[in-house]
């Protein structure tokens, strides 16, 4: 079907330039690349591909797929998925050095799904869904089971249209051990309408993408309003990919970069199926100084917006504007620092966190989370979600939350204790962070002894504890304007902002590696165990045989009858039986 559609569209694209003009029941693709130099000198590249489809998927009336990938569409329809968010990440977004991420994801694989209220057995649908996604994305999502699935009550709200937020329809799981590599990237690229043949996706070359400090790819599916009146539902598929390039190590200390340096490719055209194809480069001056940087070639336009509480300006390259490719056949955005940066002063993000395991020894330990609010005068609440596997037995009475030396009582606590081999601990708290403060949350745990078959092949590597999730509405320093979602760039429009005074941030902390007491799986140990077992069994049975004395037991027949007969015999004066 797609094969038929593509040549047709290509013809149309050649004719008009803008092919997928939105019509009723039609779908549209927008692609976008955001390049932002990070405070520490690295460069983050965020790709977003948005396919919007003006059709009602779950009704099952749809059989003709155009831009929307059929695999995902049918999955959504068949399993009653309302919202699906899957992220596969390699590495860790270092908020302190890199600033607030546009879209962070925890290390490993993360999947959270809202199901339709019509779904009766959510657990079954969840299991089925994770197995199918595992096949689609070539990831070990099939390891998602009851021991790592939780149902958060407050941290994850639907991002799209939703009538009710009954959290029983939500499932959330993280696999911190998952390693992301090209085999996950390829199926992800295949979902794009143009594949990696044209448009921005040309840059997605695996060997460069995995030569980076951070790699995160995600798929978000959600229902959105079709228009401002919101009478009909459209479905949106967002594929995002974030990479952070380490310009320091590749540029021998120089922090200049270009598209070619990072991706070893340049852009030549837009995806013919896309209705919008833009490259944004963050050129907002840092440290309130004069511009220190220079972007070539000249951008098509400059876009100014307030993103994450900060006024930013972006150089925009519209790949669909014919003027861009007039002078040269390809677009290679280059970025130069006019003078080398010399200060080690970095802007500190308003909210950041750190988590670690403290203590030593293999019996007990403590998980500590430090949450920083560096806002000079505004306090704000944050929701913390901790998921801890059952083999770390949390002592809830040791939970302490300390801010500025005083105890900080959370205004909301939801704790679901773990059950061995059944479900993990779930701890959700709403904590108020005073202005300019550090909050330390610590909870002690005991390390459980696993059964010997439950250890993985590398037990001495340690066991992972997934990232904890911080969700907060961070007060903005500058008031934000309400923007039209359809017109604004994609990187600003995934999370809904409630009002102009704050913006939504979701942060993930580091995953933890915890050592559990491990039996010695080495050969001598095994030999000793085996020998002891054999000796015990042999000795036991032999000893049993040798010391037992055998008696021939009189068969006793007819209990009640015999008793009666004996009574009669007694009366008769005859010896009993």
């Amino acid at each position: 079907m797609l094969a038929l559609a593509v040549p047709l569209l290509l013809l149309a694209a050649a004719g008009r330039g803008r092919a997928a003009a939105a019509g009723p029941g039609r779908d549209a693709l927008r692609e976008e690349l955001l390049l932002s130099p990070l405070p520490a000198g690295d460069v983050a590249a965020t790709f977003q591909f948005r396919t919007r489809w003006d059709a009602d998927l779950p009704r099952g009336a749809v059989s003709h797929y155009r831009l929307f990938p059929k695999a995902l569409g049918r999955l959504v329809a068949a399993l009653g998925v309302r919202e699906l968010h899957l992220a596969l990440t390699q590495g860790f977004w270092r908020t302190q050095a890199w600033g607030q991420p546009p879209l962070q994801a925890p290390a490993g694989a993360e999947l959270w799904v809202w199901f339709q209220p019509s779904v009766t057995d959510v657990d079954k649908a969840w299991k089925e869904l994770s197995n199918i996604l595992s096949g689609i994305f070539c990831a070990s999502l099939n390891f998602i089971d009851a021991t790592n699935t939780v149902t958060p009550t407050a941290s994850f709200k639907p991002l799209g249209l939703a009538n009710g937020t009954d959290h029983h329809l939500l499932r959330y799981a993280v696999l911190p051990r998952e390693v992301v590599c090209t085999e996950n990237l390829t199926p992800w690229k295949k979902l794009l309408p143009c594949g990696s043949k044209a448009g921005l996706a040309v840059l997605l070359k695996a060997e460069r993408l995995f030569h980076s400090s951070y790699h995160s790819q995600a798929v978000h599916i959600r229902p959105i309003c079709r228009d401002a009146s919101c009478l009909a539902v459209s479905w949106e598929l967002r594929q995002t990919l974030t990479v952070v390039f380490d310009t320091f190590s590749s540029g021998q200390g120089k922090k200049d970069w270009s598209l070619f340096k990072m991706f070893s490719r340049t852009l030549t055209d837009a995806c013919p199926l896309a209705s919008q194809s833009k490259v944004y480069v963050d050129i907002s001056p840092k440290n309130k100084e004069k511009e220190l940087l220079e972007v070539t070639p000249l951008p098509t336009s400059v876009y100014e917006a307030i993103v994450q509480g900060d006024k930013r300006s972006y150089a925009v390259y519209d790949l669909l504007s014919p003027s861009l490719f007039n002078t040269s056949r390809s677009l290679n955005v280059q970025f130069k620092w006019k003078r080398p940066e010399d200060s080690s002063e970095m802007p500190i993000p308003v909210l950041h966190a750190q988590r670690y395991v403290s203590g030593y020894g293999l019996q007990t330990g403590e998980i500590s989370t430090l949450i920083y609010n560096t806002h000079p005068y505004r306090a704000f609440p944050v929701i913390l979600l901790e998921t801890v596997p059952w083999y770390l037995r949390l002592y809830v009475h040791t939970l302490t939350i300390i801010t500025k030396g005083k105890e900080n009582k959370p205004s909301y606590i939801h704790y679901q204790p773990a059950q061995d081999r059944r479900q993990p601990h779930l701890l959700e708290m709403l904590i108020q962070l005073p202005a300019n403060s550090v909050t330390k949350i610590s909870i002690q745990f005991e390390r459980a002894l696993l059964k010997w078959t439950e250890y993985p092949p590398d037990p001495n590597h340690g066991f992972y504890v997934g990232s904890s999730v911080l969700s907060a509405l961070v007060p903005s320093i500058i008031a934000m304007k309400d923007m039209d979602v359809e017109e604004s760039p994609l990187f600003t429009s995934l999370f809904p902002s409630s009002d102009g005074s704050s913006y939504f941030v979701r942060l993930y902390t580091e995953p933890l590696l915890v050592n559990l007491p491990t039996p010695d799986f080495s050969m001598p140990y095994n030999v000793i165990c085996l020998t002891c077992t054999v000796v015990a069994v042999c000795y036991g049975s032999f000893y049993n045989l040798l010391t037992r004395t055998f008696h021939v037991e009189e068969p006793s027949r007819g209990g009640l009858a015999k008793w009666l007969a004996n009574i009669i015999r007694k009366f008769r004066g005859v010896p009993p039986l």
């Binding site: 403290s358 203590g359 500590s368 590398d458 001495n460 590597h461 933890l512």
Partner: protein, 595 residues
């Protein structure tokens, strides 16, 4: 090497920043001189410009009494460290390269090499674990402060500032000491706090890379002889082995790596030696060795666990495993057990009363170790107590010596540090001297106790009193055996040294026989004399024999250092000797002077 992930040596080391290391070292030295201590600002700036994430930690610590050998009492310092974040890793695992910032010209080259390695490592893409480059001040104190802050525990009274940057669970650490521009050999120190040892694989790793780069490497300062099958070579191996036993028994970390081991981080200290040998190695070779080791450690999939944790090293490439040396120790302890068995049987045989009652009452002290009235079996407690009444005075006679001996131990442990101010008021000595002298005074005074203790209850001469020493000795023997066995599992060398000296004396002690000779043997076997003899033996083995006066000075120093090590880092040698071994020895002393 047992660890698979560190197996083959296929990669070519590329480190070539030897000159840069020396230049950085000179810079560091100049700034250190200017700052009159740790050049914190310079280090931070340099590390930042190398592309590391820089953190610093301030700490302060007040010592329980002034440390005269290092001249410090109130210690304030700063640790500076940079974290190289591994790409595409979530900071769950880390490696540490550390070096101390020492006063004077010491250890500058180590800092230079550390910075050069950081600069080189930063440009590489293969790191899977974060690497922490740590420059710590005030040697062990700084290291202790850093480790405690990193693991967010507070074992000692170190106060340190604020939260730190972290990089997950530390898998291995290498501590570097280097004070010359070229080296002739490398000495590796393994013994950590309380005699803990790193996994043998880490040592093998170092050995393998020394072999690969043609670097000479030694252990305990002794080079392995090439003709290993000759008599002098065996003598050399024995010397090395004995040095290791002495070092391990002291419980003192032989390098800054020693404190890592408590947190189950495998660590060694590498010490560059510049002697009069002809062939010298430059910084690039040294750097290549370290690069190779770090790449191998980076490859680790699991913590080092494949190889031995308990071993003794007669040379760098040979080891004595726990399976070989433990039986020897077992035989030593067997002497005590057999002797105790013999005593018990004697007690049973010569008992004038009913044998059944006696076996009950004799069984008491051996199981309950304190020698009080034996626990009555449940069922008929009152009846049993009645039958035991005739025995009670005899057992009661054991209570005072046991209590007094342990009280002496407690005094030995607490009084020197608590009473230092009193001592300095009344005697013209400094605090550190006061502590050491009080220690010796209490130790010697303890030996006068037996004359007054057991005579309080039940005079000598009676039949019960004559048998009393047997019960006391039985108790002391079993107590000693239990202590030594437990000790050998924690710190084999210490257990072995104490066993070798104390077991013969303990077995021979009796109030009958040549008392002067026995007293001499027992005094020679006391832990303090063992320490003194150990110091002389150690000087002998490193081929720098000590004169008696110098030996005595070292002995006094060792006492002070031992106390400090306990109070600063939690070494268990001092409380163990004061609260366990010394009272036990006093019990034997009591046995000797029973009549």
């Amino acid at each position: 090497m047992s660890e698979n992930a560190m197996g083959s040596t296929m990669v070519e080391e590329q480190f070539s920043l030897g000159e840069r290391a020396l230049a950085l070292a000179r810079d560091f030295a100049a700034h250190k001189k200017k700052a009159g201590g740790m050049p914190t600002a310079w280090l931070e700036k340099t590390m930042w410009s190398l592309g590391l994430e820089v953190h610093q930690q301030q700490f302060s610590h007040t010592l329980p009494f002034p440390d005269e050998s290092r001249e410090r009492y109130l210690v304030r310092g700063t640790n500076v460290y940079g974290i190289l974040r591994a790409p595409r890793a979530a900071s769950t695992e880390a490696l540490v390269l550390s070096t101390g910032c020492a006063p004077g010209p010491h250890n500058n080259q180590a800092v230079g090499l550390l910075l050069a390695l950081a600069s080189y490592f930063r440009g590489q893409i293969y790191w899977a674990k974060d690497i922490i480059f740590l420059v710590n001040e005030h040697d062990l104190l700084g290291m202790e402060a850093w480790l405690e802050a990193y693991h967010d525990v507070n074992i000692t009274a170190v106060r340190s500032s604020g939260p730190l940057g972290r990089a997950g669970a530390i898998q291995a650490a290498i501590s570097l000491e280097l004070s010359s521009d070229v080296v002739t050999s490398f000495d590796v120190a393994v013994e950590g706090l309380n005699g803990q040892l790193p996994n043998l694989d880490l040592l093998n790793l170092f050995n393998a890379f020394c072999q690969k780069n043609g670097l000479l490497c030694t252990i305990q300062g002794k080079l392995q002889r090439s003709d290993w099958d000759s008599l002098p070579a065996y003598a050399r191996s024995l010397q090395t082995l004995l040095l290791m036993v002495l070092a391990q028994a002291s419980g003192r970390p032989r390098g800054e790596h020693g404190l890592f081991l408590r947190y189950r981080i495998e660590a060694v200290t590498l010490r560059g030696i510049n002697s009069f040998r002809q062939y010298k190695y430059d910084m690039s070779t040294v750097g290549k060795t370290l690069e190779g080791m770090f790449r191998k450690l980076n490859n680790l999939l699991e913590r080092l666990h494949q190889s031995y944790f308990f071993y003794l090293l007669p040379s760098l490439s040979r080891f004595v495993s726990i399976g070989v040396y433990m039986p020897a120790f077992g035989f030593l302890i067997l002497v005590l057990i057999l002797r105790a068995l013999d005593l018990w049987m004697k007690l049973n045989k010569t008992d004038p009363g009913g044998s059944d009652q006696l076996s009950d009452s004799d069984h008491g002290p051996s199981t309950t170790e304190v020698g009080e009235t034996p626990p009555a079996p449940p069922g008929a407690p009152s009846r049993l107590l009645l039958t035991l009444c005739p025995q009670a005075p005899r057992l009661l006679a054991l209570v005072p010596p046991v209590l007094v001996c342990h009280a002496a131990g407690l005094a030995l442990y607490y009084l020197p540090v608590l009473g230092q101010s009193v001592a300095t008021q009344h005697f013209p000595v400094s605090e550190a001297e006061a502590v050491v002298l009080t220690l010796i005074a209490i130790y010697v005074a303890g030996m006068a106790l037996p004359h007054s203790t057991h005579r309080v209850l039940g005079g000598p001469g009676s039949v019960a009193a004559a048998r009393g020493w047997m019960v006391l000795k039985l108790l002391a023997l079993l107590y000693l055996a239990a202590q030594l066995t437990a000790l050998a599992l924690l710190n084999f060398s210490l257990g072995f040294l104490l066993a070798v000296t104390m077991v013969p004396a303990a077995a021979a002690t009796a109030p009958t026989g040549p008392r002067v000779l026995l007293a001499l043997v027992l005094v020679l076997a006391t832990p303090a004399v063992t320490l003194l003899l150990g110091i002389f033996l150690e000087r002998e083995l490193v081929e720098a024999p000590a004169a008696p006066g110098e030996g005595w000075q070292r002995f006094l120093g060792a006492l002070g250092q031992g106390l400090l090590l306990h109070h600063l880092h939690g070494a268990f040698l001092c409380p163990l000797l004061a609260l366990g071994t010394y009272p036990c020895w006093l019990l034997l002393w009591n046995v000797l002077f029973w009549d």
